[in-house]
């Protein structure tokens, strides 16, 4: 059995699965249940100053569903905790005492003044919590009051607040980033410059999930009106993975630990985040969709996969894929592939043909000798992978690398040596 124990900036937990700061971590009741279910740690629902904020009393969530109502994406307009600060702090203290082996991180969001941040940090330290997470991510409600994403979108503010916190406390400081910016590297660099021990990302993506065409209002609708919310769940994972990779391979931030968040639903999602450089992961929507017991699958799945691949500890997984993320200009232009259709697996749906014919390169037949038959025409195939992507049968269409001879499309010899755009003859900047 692989060792799943996790040490994230000195915060120890029995496994790398933490619950993200959100409703699952809003109260002792929930967090106790989560720890009973086996979660490695929690980031407590974001605390603010008293008097507590208020939430809407109507629907907070909107959703994107598959045909079978599988939840693909969730959108919310909830704010930070709406319970008094002292109630939360007392519960945090008790839960940490009851579960000493689990990670207890406390998420914070207060107005952008030094005294406010310093004040709340002292009170958190008293609870015995293992660390704090600065919520610079919430994209709705709080941002309009100059907090959350309003801070996260201005690198200077991130650096400033992070520095105040580091000056005040010895607890590890994790800075949670918003994806609602154009280049995630700038806020990450700012967090690092301010002295952050780690960054966590992503918080939710600003979104309107749907419009009710009868009432002509966005959903969720509160008395006829709706406002944008934050999007999360499986749909946001690709966005989050890219941002994690951006930070992991940026020279300035390459060494900063990352807690990966966004759409983690299965062990595989977690493994992918870690392969791209995340030291652990945080989960919200998967728990809110299925309950806490999803962690069983995550733990056993990660375990089995690590055993199968011979990874004894998480350290041998984290960052393994990062070196293979590169910029487009460094991709090998001498690598040539052609699609191959396994005729035994083909069920004759014709989708590969029509998408290639209508939208790509006219490289798949519809009929051969008058009979329905789908076959790749190497003279036309650019190897784009569209047919593979739309084929409903797993492994029916695959990509085959040409290693010798001539590419029948370009009539160029297949060359084994690496050559990229930077040196390509068509590149005006290549100087060749």
């Amino acid at each position: 059995m692989a060792d799943l124990s996790n040490n994230f900036v000195g915060i120890k937990s029995p496994n790398p699965f933490w619950l993200a700061s959100a409703p699952p971590t809003d109260k002792a009741f929930n967090v106790n249940r989560a720890f009973e279910a086996g979660w490695g740690g929690v980031v407590w629902k974001t605390l603010g100053e008293d008097p507590p904020i208020v939430n809407v009393n109507g629907p907070r969530y909107g959703a994107v569903h598959s045909a079978d109502r599988r939840l693909i994406g969730l959108n919310n307009i909830e704010l930070i905790t709406d319970r008094p600060l002292e109630v939360n702090l007392a519960e945090i203290r008790q839960v940490k005492r009851d579960w000493p082996d689990r990670a207890m991180v406390v998420s914070l969001m207060v107005p952008c003044e030094e005294k406010n941040w310093k004040g709340i940090l002292k009170r958190v330290e008293d609870t015995g919590a293992d660390g704090v997470e600065l919520n610079f991510g919430c994209p709705h409600g709080m941002s309009e009051r100059g907090m959350g994403a309003a801070v996260g979108q201005v690198p200077e503010y991130i650096e400033m607040v992070t520095r105040w916190c580091k000056e005040t406390t010895d607890l590890p400081v994790i800075v949670k980033l918003t994806p609602n910016i154009t280049d995630i590297r700038f806020p990450a660099r700012a967090a690092k410059a301010g002295g952050a021990d780690a960054v966590s990302l992503i918080n939710t993506v600003s979104s309107i999930v749907s419009v009710d065409l009868d009432t002509m209002a966005p959903q969720p609708t509160i008395d006829g009106k709706g406002s944008h919310g934050g999007y999360c769940g499986p749909a946001v994972k690709p966005i989050a993975l890219n941002m994690v990779a951006d930070i992991a391979r940026d020279a300035e931030t390459a060494d900063i630990p990352i807690s990966g968040i966004g759409g983690v639903t299965t062990w595989r999602d977690a493994a992918e985040f870690m392969a791209l450089g995340a030291g652990n992961v945080q989960v919200c929507t998967a728990a809110m969709t299925y309950g806490f017991r999803v962690v069983d699958e995550m733990i056993s799945g990660l375990n089995n996969w690590m055993d199968e691949k011979g990874h004894a500890t998480l350290d041998s997984v984290v960052g393994k894929a990062t070196p293979n993320v590169t910029d487009w200009q460094y991709l090998n232009l001498n690598y040539v592939t052609k699609a191959r259709i396994d005729q035994d697996k083909c069920i004759q749906c014709g989708r590969c043909h029509v998408v290639c014919e209508d939208t790509s390169h006219q490289a798949i037949t519809l009929k051969v000798d008058g009979k329905r038959h789908f076959e790749v025409i190497d003279e036309e195939c650019v190897g784009c992978n569209l047919c593979v992507s739309v084929c409903p049968v797993e492994d029916c269409i695959t990509m085959e690398e040409l290693t010798t001879g001539v590419d029948p499309r370009t009539e160029n010899d297949i060359r084994r040596e690496y050559a990229n755009w930077t040196t390509h003859a068509n590149n005006p900047m290549s100087g060749s």
Binding site: A67, R69, I347, C349, G350, L366, R372, V393
Partner: protein, 437 residues
């Protein structure tokens, strides 16, 4: 309604209950939206199956129904009665992939049921062309023909010998495929396009002659079906208790008081088609104890699909193969007492009696050995002498310039509702081209 409240649940309950909106959403999501889709080719009316399923998926139920009706105005009945397992669903690539085709028939029903509600008819009667067409027979072929002609603006008079329209939809299809008076409601739906005058209880050949119609109308379409029944010429077939299966089914379809139907305890059905299966299953549902189908060839040769055969078996019907009837014997009271059958075997493709015989006790015998055209009174101009079907060319025109025909009554007819609809539709196109020229 609860199933157990019904005295005859088998007869009064849909064989396939309607899909709920959610079931339809999940099922429609299974469709791959194939290109040049095999299911479209496999549908005799060529419905754009992937498109209508995608419309269901997108919550556009009315659009889905319209896609179906464009090719098959009786898409509602076809959704209920088509042997989809040998048509569209057999061709579905999901059948190839996982032996579980998309439930095309049930999705088609989901879509078309939309127009059972209080919604406007999706087609408009065309502006008056000044042409008059007589459609003889208000079965699937006649209805499809009449509807298409009406959309072109031709005035249609539809004559039918029976007291109700619908043809075998009304008198033949099994009750559990068309519950809640669906056949009649569908006829009303078809007629609501406007421009079609229906006259029931008018038999061409006796009440009015075909030649008169040819004189009166710009064109005549014959959708006569097969009104006659094959006679086995079996000794004892005139005994009380021997009946033609189609007549038994027609009686069944026309009553709401199932208690009044006298069904025997021990029933034997001779035949191997859909009619034999339907008669057997419905006899069981009416309470017959022992129901046996005797067919002279093997299971693969049966006209009833594998699914229909299984349906019979699930309902406790025994199917005996390679048995041909020899004689029906009477009991002491002079009614049917038993039937004598001989085993057969196929010798180089030819069926021969083996000489070995058995007796099966029976108080009721239904003959389901096929229907024939009752053509006696029709003008000889359209029926080639000796043929027991109307002969038509590829445009559904008979030997007479002004007479078209389609459905079961033409040679090459497939004895399927959907095939009759296709004939009626294409004949209407042909008539339209001819009379608009």
């Amino acid at each position: 309604m609860q199933q157990d409240e019904k005295a005859y649940p088998g007869l009064e309950t849909d064989l396939h209950p309607a899909l709920s909106r959610h079931e339809a959403s999940v099922e429609s999501d299974r469709c791959y939206f194939c290109y040049d889709a095999p299911c479209v080719t496999a549908c005799p009316t060529g419905i754009d199956v992937p498109l209508f399923i995608r419309q269901i998926q997108a919550g556009n139920r009315a659009g889905a129904a319209k896609t179906i009706f464009d090719e098959n105005i009786l898409g509602g009945m076809c959704a209920r009665v088509c042997p989809t397992e040998t048509l569209c669903e057999q061709a579905c690539v999901r059948q190839t992939a996982e032996s579980k085709p998309v439930k095309i028939g049930q999705l088609q029903r989901f879509a078309t049921d939309h127009f059972l509600g209080d919604v406007e008819h999706p087609y408009q009667q065309g502006s008056d062309s000044g042409k008059q067409v007589c459609v003889v027979g208000a079965g699937p072929a006649g209805l499809a023909c009449a509807h298409r002609l009406a959309t072109y603006g031709h005035r249609v008079t539809m004559l039918d010998a029976k007291s109700k329209p619908g043809g075998l939809n009304e008198y033949g299809i099994a009750t559990y495929k068309t519950v809640e008076n669906f056949a009649r409601r569908e006829v009303d739906f078809v007629l609501s396009v406007g421009g079609i005058t229906l006259k029931n209880s008018v038999r061409v050949g006796s009440d009015v002659m075909l030649d008169e119609l040819i004189d009166q109308y710009d064109a005549v379409f014959l959708g006569l079906g097969l009104d006659g029944v094959n006679q086995a010429g079996l000794p004892g077939s005139d005994l009380a208790g021997v009946e033609n299966a189609v007549e038994f089914i027609a009686r069944l379809r026309q009553t709401t008081d199932y208690d009044s139907l006298q069904v025997g305890r021990k029933v034997v059905i001779i035949g191997g088609g859909m009619t034999a299966i339907d008669a057997a299953v419905q006899a069981r549902m009416l309470g017959a104890e022992d129901v046996t189908i005797a067919y002279r060839r093997g299971a693969d040769a049966m006209n009833a699909s594998r699914y229909e055969q299984e349906l019979a078996q699930i309902n406790g019907v025994k199917i005996k193969h390679y048995l041909q009837p020899v004689e029906i014997h009477s009991d002491a009271s002079g009614a049917v007492g038993s039937i004598e059958l001989e085993y057969t075997s196929s010798v180089s493709g030819e069926l021969q009696g083996t000489g070995e015989k058995i007796q099966i006790e029976a108080d009721t015998i239904y003959m389901a050995i096929g229907q024939t055209l009752l053509a006696g009174q029709l003008a000889s101009t359209v029926i080639e002498s000796g043929a027991n079907r109307v002969t038509v060319d590829s445009a559904y025109r008979t030997g007479h310039q002004k007479v078209w025909a389609g459905g079961d009554c033409i040679s090459g007819g497939e004895d399927l509702t959907v095939a009759a609809v296709q004939d009626g539709k294409l004949a209407a196109e042909s008539i339209h081209r001819a009379i608009s020229a």
